[in-house]
Symmetry: C2
Subunit: 514 residues, 2 copies
């Protein structure tokens, strides 16, 4: 068989069932192989930001890598921003980047570039095919690396290695094991927790994806007289009636310091030491209160649940009853819309087991603040700060979970980055409802201007934060890409629009005018 | 003054008057400086592919660098594909990439990444600010490098260096000189031309941007009994009644070989040895006929006109009359549209001194084939093969030349990549008419599938080349981004639509349905 067929057959045997793609000439042999090899479905995106973001959404929901198929350096480059988010989300992805035939690379044809240099910053593993016969094995390496590292792995596939004959599928690669629990570390943290001080457990990464991890952490904290917090901007947070509500660390560094004030010990479980999103004059990179001791129970590579279970045993809290928790009360929004009203409307209309993708940017914080009032759901946040993730991640999450409703709480500025994702949602009839928080501004920049002491920006600065003149017509944009849309200016209209969107299959866009 | 103000004042003093921008928090000090420093106008793009492509269009038309303002690694990454095209176009650009405050970089905040690794493949010069006081001088270095190398230069500017006080503008950097003419090389080529063989001069790069270069080359070739060809995919080609028509080298390698068949010597003037766009089975990277001798008169760094003038003197052809040239006859298209009809409609309606941006992809070749029948104009082509350049390059060209009409001959697949450029066209009231060659396909991939021997693609392969289901509604997309639009299905309708667009200021989109 061809190299491309051997590679895809190896992927299919490993259980990889989806490839988000925007191929070109160098990828023709792989395009052809989709029809020759069973088991891997190709989904087209109109730009590579859609392709890589969709793979991130798919990987966050399944824990398994999707393939991406990208066209040489420039095609890869268009997908880097969402791979950056995927790297921060610790999402396994396997990028297949087409490359000129091996004998053609020295000619420096127009589309040639240094793909490795582009790929290294967002790839945990990076390699090239070296021949037709070895390509399937090289793919298997990338597969194992993506799952082991929980990071994008990038395989650059030369066209002649793909079109050449004589490949055989590699034996199905095994999923790598997580590192063993570090007993010494468990014992040390248990000792900290038993010291009668005031600890706080900070959950992040995969610890938030698992209901039992959250429950176990809450039991441990309660027994130790402490609390549990959730890291901000997490890949996936599970919530529901049987999951204790968690407060999320705030965004600005001074607020992080306040939130951690009064605690003696910070225990990291799949989370990093809190870091300020940006460096602000006179503030710290790590905005911790003085004297707070930081301990790491489980890093991002560890299995958080196993570590927490061991810690619960060590602290004797494994069988404790969960403390009774207050849940927020949410009332139906009426009249003019703001971020709180939009969040409330979503909470009140989201169906059971919805997937909430939150790229609300300046409108994002309102949702997690009341989300514990909603039915069981998970929330996928902007992990790496590279805007333009919401529409593609929603697309990939909907492909991964066709039976669940996806609701994308989406800022307008970031929506415009990868708006092409709407087309894939239409083409694949995905159950995604995009709620555009339409304020016709990069409002987060208005806030940052104020923080920088610029209360009255000049005309040039003001023009850099305004998306008006002309305001985007989101209903027209949606129609252009084949998606039905509604416009809501009040809480009542928004509730109606969201209920109507949930009642009908396929994608919808609701412009919520702020 | 602040570092950002010192930097911008240095830019203004050097004559840099435009900055295409999509800033974020780390760029706030530069955003603020646009109001403090006179002379540099900021133009917002809704995604960085728009920003860098606009800078390419601006640089191709002016020969001078525009600034881009980009938000850390991910913001830069979104602009790489069009910087790749700019690199192939040899366009000077100065990228200002915001970066975390110097003291915050070690904290690996969510938006941190290896910006150098991302920037190197598309930057002729790459550097970082090292302090507030040195930032203006470091900018001056980038400026000189961009013009010297005719390439993007990338300066990574740390937020604290920009917000810090104590900078002074650097003295205005001088424009670097072109390398001197190599007399020995002139003499050698003159000897080849006088040998009574059959030479062909291949013009590329800056040689095609200058009417006198083209006339001089044609005189030299005529005197030597040879011909002149134009490189394919050039940054800018000038055409008009007083410029001799040139044939362009074809796209596919076997056609290149045919076009060069019968010549004894190939003289490169600002052009590279012809290279196949992709490597095809059984074909050469450099598809030259056997026995063709290649000589380089002027590389991309040289001043082509000076070299050609010297060669004309050396061959005694400087004062020769230009040979009489046939120009194509173009008749008004009627009935159903195809690529030829669209090209004819543009040729027949384009006003004097129009700028034609050609990203027609599979519909692109029809225009240059008849463009010598049009009034004086220039054509900007896809240099690096990274699709999504047409809409942004048109935007930048219109900013550079507000008194000229810009007509963007645009494929639909590539239009969808950077469709956000329409919004900047609307916001800035730019005279851009976008003609979408709407075939609802990646038709170039259909051709490549056939070339790969796949005449009857399977369902998966077919779905990778189809942009139907749903077809993009280009009129709705245009309206969404604030641009007026028309739909044309016949030659008559297209002629009317183009005339109407030219009669009204501001941007228009015409969907030409194939």
């Amino acid at each position: 068989m061809k190299g491309s067929e051997g590679l895809l057959a190896t992927a299919a045997a490993a259980g990889v069932d989806i490839c988000f793609a925007n191929p070109g000439t160098t990828e023709i042999p792989l395009v052809e192989a989709f029809d020759q090899v069973d088991g891997v479905r190709a989904v087209l995106g109109l730009s590579e930001g859609v392709v890589t973001g969709a793979a991130d959404g798919y990987g966050r929901m399944t824990g398994a890598p999707a393939l991406t198929l990208l066209h040489l350096g420039p095609g890869f480059a268009n997908g880097i921003a969402n791979l950056h988010n995927a790297r921060r989300a610790r999402t396994p992805i396997i990028n297949l980047v087409g490359e000129h035939a091996s004998w053609h690379q020295a000619a420096d044809a127009p589309l040639s570039s240094d793909i490795e240099s582009l790929a290294r910053p967002v790839s945990g593993w990076l390699g090239r095919t070296t021949s037709t016969s070895s390509a399937p094995e090289e793919f298997a390496e990338a597969y194992v690396a993506a799952l082991r590292d929980r990071l994008p792995a990038t395989l650059i596939a030369a066209a002649d290695h793909m079109w050449g004959q004589g490949a055989m599928p590699a034996s199905a690669p095994a999923r790598p094991e997580r590192p063993q629990v570090d007993e010494l570390r468990i014992a040390e943290v248990a000792k900290v927790l038993s010291a009668g001080r005031r600890p706080v457990l900070l959950l992040g990464g995969h610890a938030l994806e698992n209901a039992e991890s959250i429950r176990t952490a809450v039991r441990i904290a309660a027994a130790a007289g402490g609390d549990v917090l959730a890291e901000r901007g997490s890949a996936r947070v599970e919530r529901g009636p049987d999951i204790p509500p968690l407060q999320t660390l705030p965004y600005f560094p001074e607020a992080v310091t306040s939130a951690l004030d009064g605690y003696t010990d910070l225990i990291l479980i799949g989370a990093r030491t809190p870091v300020s999103f940006f460096g602000y004059k006179g503030q710290l990179s790590h905005p911790l209160p003085d004297g707070l001791n930081v301990h790491e129970l489980a890093d991002a590579d560890a299995d958080s649940l196993t570590c927490l279970t061991a810690l619960a045993e060590a602290t004797g809290s494994a069988a404790d009853k969960l403390p009774r928790a207050e849940r927020p009360k949410v009332t139906a929004p009426t009249g003019a819309l703001d971020a709180n009203a939009i969040a409330a409307a979503i909470v009140l209309t989201q169906p059971e087991h919805a997937i909430i993708v939150n790229e609300g940017v300046s409108s994002s914080a309102a949702y997690p603040a009341i989300a514990d009032a909603a039915p069981a759901h998970c929330e996928l946040a902007l992990t790496g700060g590279a805007i333009g993730m919401g529409m593609p991640v929603s697309t990939g999450a909907a492909i991964a979970c066709p039976d669940r409703a996806v609701i994308n709480l989406q800022a307008d500025g970031s929506a415009a980055y990868t708006v092409q994702a709407l087309w894939t949602q239409a083409r694949e009839s995905l159950n995604v409802t995009t709620v555009i928080c339409s304020n016709s501004r990069y409002r987060i920049l208005d806030e940052e201007l104020r923080r920088a002491g610029i209360d009255d920006p000049g005309a040039a600065a003001a023009s850099m934060t305004s998306l008006g003149e002309p305001a985007l017509d989101w209903q027209a944009v949606a129609r252009g890409f084949g998606v039905q849309s509604t416009r809501a200016t009040t809480g009542e209209e928004l509730l109606n629009a969201l209920r109507a969107a949930q009642a009908q299959p396929g994608p919808h866009l609701v412009e919520a005018v702020l």
